[in-house]
Amino acid sequence: MARMKFICDAERCIECNGCVTACKAEHAVPWGVNRRRVVTLNDGVPGERSISVACMHCSDAPCMAVCPVDCFYRTEEGVVLHDKDTCIGCGYCSYACPFGAPQFPSSGTFGMRGKMDKCTFCAGGPEAHGSAAENDKYGRNRLAEGKLPACAEMCATKALLGGDGDVVADIFRTRVMMRNKGSEVWGWGTAYGKPSSGSGAPKATKS
């Protein structure tokens, strides 16, 4: 079964916020809740980079680990979803998530936190696919309609890729190779380490 993943190509993202708008429009996300947002690093400095960030649907999700009421679950497609009927809005997941994905509407009395809301990879929730209840709580279920997340499909420069992890990784790899880039591409060194001088296998170093 496919494992659904997002990846954002920082060389292509032009900070247009099209993904953010697509998400809000597709799921009628209320004011104050941003399931997806664009983060710019070194804003205004030559060489600034922007990336689109939302729930990364982690394989070992920290939100899932800390939830006191166990409202999270992982679908067959590897999407991390949650049950809003079980969520108590405690906010633990918000502290645990390294991407700031969990969002809380503050529409309750005295600013009380509502149920957590986050990116669903356009896969809805535990209710029946395409039902009104699912749509009200989680938004559109595009995966069950044979479509991909709206943010990735609406991205003008195709910076944001979303789909089966193996497929999007292949697409990204092809791009990097076509740019005649390799290990010097932004973020690569952080994830996989810098190449050692000369050819051959990288040498182990003491940290």
Partner: protein, 79 residues
């Protein structure tokens, strides 16, 4: 002697089964949604390239849609 052996065997079996009553401590809710390939049953919004209920067809649809929509090297017909 036989009684001693039988008692010993019983003790070993009991010790072996001691952990069987342990509840699983794996993170994850008991709530599980349906898999996406089941479809929504709402025909006008469903993409025509696959058959609802068929997992293989859904996976193929995802692959095709990702390549066609997000890989411009495929869309432009060359490299």
């Amino acid at each position: 002697m036989k009684t001693l052996l039988a008692t010993g065997a019983c003790l070993v079996v009991l010790c072996g089964l001691a952990a069987c009553g342990e509840k699983p401590q794996v993170a994850g809710s008991s709530v599980q949604g349906q898999p996406a390939y089941v479809g929504t049953g709402v025909v006008p919004y469903t993409d025509a390239g696959w058959k609802a209920g068929d997992a293989t067809s859904w996976e193929e649809q995802m692959r095709t849609r990702t390549q066609a929509g997000q890989n411009e090297y495929v869309r432009s017909g060359g490299k």
